[in-house]
Symmetry: C2
Subunit: 200 residues, 2 copies
């Protein structure tokens, strides 16, 4: 090999090394930024936040201990006033949508005579599921404050199920695990005999 | 430059060219695969699917025309039998969760005395929102069949709102647009004076 060839080979190796090193560095940086962001979020908790969170946890149990042994509870608070309260009634009612957050949002909307909750804060005794989170975005609450118990074993099944749902929602609709079949007007017209009127 | 150096330079250029070309080719291929997947999904529609979709659309309006002028409607069907039916009542009840899909799932779960709907199909007159989709994953329906009108102008606002929610749900919780504040037992213990008991 000539000197130039050796030089080019060395340069390639150096660039590859720098690339790998840069990737590792930016991952560390990302992790640090994330920790800082979480710390900043936690530092934003006000005395009012703690007071309402205690209220939420007292509604279900002593907050030191098994916060999951009793139904999850949620509060919607606006300008320091509780405008909605809800407890999980899914097992009781055979209603898979009757989560504490959804019940609290419903109660608050009914109380306010509105379908948005701008400027409100949602306090809840466990991590909201994707369904509830989607609703909280729809009604445009200002903040979400939730409790994470020390022992998360009882909620592990829920977390696995939630992760599966988040993964599905992230995907292109064409490839989601539950097939989504889209019918257009032309499909129904064809079936009806081509004139676009229903035949029934 | 030596012959070897020229050769190495040419090789680098060739590899870069091949890479760009490969990327473009795989994008085209991905698009084709997606179209094929959508066509396959549509081809899987049975006569029963069309019949139930007509029923859904008749419940709101003539299916040729403004399917969005009347409340969206949904059906849950199992083994050819309707086990749940629902219409959007969100405006009527000031309940932002009262979407047709959610109402139909609630009705079906009540009817079945269960919180899962395995083996069921959900028919609905418009594209399910992220909240409803999350619930459909939770109750584990087998398929989702929905109608896409020719004129999607009336649903554009809903679509924009849904896209915004999907984007938020995709994100790392630390960076979602609505701040999520997580309180741990240690945070509450500190506040209570260090003995882990509430002070109130």
């Amino acid at each position: 090999m000539t000197t130039l060839a050796k030089f080019l080979l060395l340069l390639t190796l150096l660039i590859m090394g720098a690339y790998v090193n840069h990737n590792a560095a930016s991952r560390t940086e990302q992790h640090q930024q994330r920790q800082q962001r979480l710390a900043k979020l936690k530092a934003s908790a006000t005395a009012e936040d703690y007071a309402f969170m205690k209220k939420v946890l007292n509604a279900s149990t002593e907050f030191t201990g098994a916060a999951n042994s009793t139904p999850p509870t949620s509060l919607v608070v606006k300008d320091g006033e509780i405008i909605g309260e809800g407890s999980d009634r899914s097992a009781q009612l055979n209603d898979p949508s009757a989560h504490a957050e959804l019940e609290a949002v419903k109660a608050a909307c009914k109380y306010m005579g509105a379908t948005t909750l701008k400027g409100s804060v949602l306090y809840t005794s466990s991590k909201p599921c994707p369904m509830c989170l989607a609703l909280l975005y729809r009604v445009e609450v200002e903040r979400i404050v939730y409790y994470m118990p020390a022992d998360t074993t009882p909620t592990e099944t829920a977390n696995t199920s939630n992760r599966r749902i988040y993964e599905a929602l992230k995907q292109d609709p064409a490839y989601r695990p539950i097939p989504e079949l889209v019918l257009h007007p032309s499909d129904l017209e064809k079936l009806a005999g081509g004139d676009g009127r229903r035949t029934r």
